[in-house]
């Protein structure tokens, strides 16, 4: 990222190759459609380029990138609300739509579908916390900084969010016994 900051834009392609898959899945599991998630990944990298000057060597790259990704997702949600798009307001509806797509149904395993539905029942903050907790490079301190609280608070929040997710996941099992 420091090289990008120094004006070597082609180095952003290297970062893209390293991180686009994780970012895509972060947006996808947050309840966005495939095309929307791809757009959000592109927007994240373009915004990284825009704010490259603000990147400091002392800061970890991963929390910085995910902070930008969160902002991009939040802005996209706000814009969709202003534009009157329903899918940003009700991610559950979007999820139901994406689940009804036969290609998606084929490609996703049943348990993954259940998990996705369970994830979408969580509040956006909890969902983001759960998803970011699975990024290996983000430690508890990084998550605490991202969510603006102490490490002990983030541990408790993560624990509760995961418990809630498990509960929803099990309920999904009861609601969809055939799956």
């Amino acid at each position: 990222m420091l090289q990008v900051k120094a004006g070597r834009l082609e180095q952003l392609a290297v970062l893209f190759e390293r991180h686009h898959l994780k970012l895509f899945n972060f947006f996808r599991k947050s309840g966005n459609s495939r095309p929307a998630s791809e757009d959000l990944v592109q927007d994240t990298f373009m915004r990284m380029l825009k704010y490259a000057a603000s990147y400091q060597e002392s800061r970890n790259f991963m929390p910085w990138m995910y902070q930008i990704a969160r902002n991009v997702a939040a802005d996209a949600g706000r814009n969709a609300v202003h534009a009157g798009l329903q899918d940003a307001v009700e991610p559950d509806v979007l999820a139901a739509d994406s689940m009804s797509d036969p290609e998606t149904q084929q490609s996703l395993h049943d348990t993954e579908q259940r998990l996705r539905r369970a994830l979408l029942r969580l509040s956006s903050d909890k969902r983001e916390l759960v998803l970011l907790s699975r990024v290996r490079q983000l430690g508890t301190e990084d998550l605490a900084r991202l969510f603006g609280c102490s490490a002990s608070v983030i541990k408790v929040r993560l624990h509760r969010s995961l418990e809630q997710l498990r509960e929803y996941f099990d309920n999904e099992d009861d609601q969809h016994p055939g799956s």
């Binding site: 834009l9 082609e10 686009h20 994780k22 990944v41 990298f45 998990l115 624990h159 995961l162």
Partner: protein, 182 residues
């Protein structure tokens, strides 16, 4: 370690975020406790599902590369315009000597003239007072000649005006009015 101590550590344990010592203690407890083992198994199942990755389409990479290329071209054109402007600045003709002198004088005036309007006004009044005082203090004979000369001219013109009035009166005496003639 008992279940109460173990439970808060399970989230970090399933994320491999525990320090080595704590990790070993949790592992030792899990070997003995089926309840906590089940908890960890459930957390690991969720974690495995969360870690499952979906591949994006090839359009993502193409779209990104196109946008990056566009940004790079824009930046290059901006840099080129900047360089052209800089070269134009260097090629601009040097001003002539007279122009420079005028510029220097105007700079001196600006330096002497107060910037604030109040001070400029006071400065003007001071200049006016200096003019009046210097007019009063100048030697009298330097102005005297001109004053007496002008006084004589005024007297002569006044006398001329009086004689003209008298001439008109005499004419009117010698020549009776038209009404009197009638």
């Amino acid at each position: 370690m008992n279940c109460e101590d173990c439970k808060p550590q399970l989230t970090d344990f399933s994320r491999d975020q525990l320090p080595a010592e704590m990790h070993a203690s949790v592992m030792a407890h899990l070997r003995e406790c089926p309840y906590c083992s089940r908890e960890v198994a459930a957390l690991r199942q969720i974690a495995a599902l969360l870690d499952a990755e979906e591949l994006p389409s090839a359009q993502l990479r193409q779209g990104f590369q196109a946008r990056l290329e566009q940004t790079r071209l824009e930046q290059t054109s901006i840099e080129r315009v900047g360089l052209e402007q800089a070269s134009l600045e260097q090629e601009r003709p040097v001003p002539s000597g007279g122009h420079q002198q005028r510029k220097r004088l105007s700079g001196l005036f600006h330096l002497l003239w107060p910037s604030r309007p109040v001070w400029a006004c006071a400065y003007s009044v001071l200049l006016l007072c200096c003019g009046l005082v210097s007019g009063q203090l100048l030697p009298a004979d330097s102005l005297g000649l001109s004053i007496s000369g002008s006084a004589t001219a005024v007297t002569q013109s006044a006398n001329g005006a009086i004689s003209e009035e008298r001439l008109i009166q005499l004419c009117s005496v010698q020549n009776p009015r038209n009404s009197e003639i009638l």
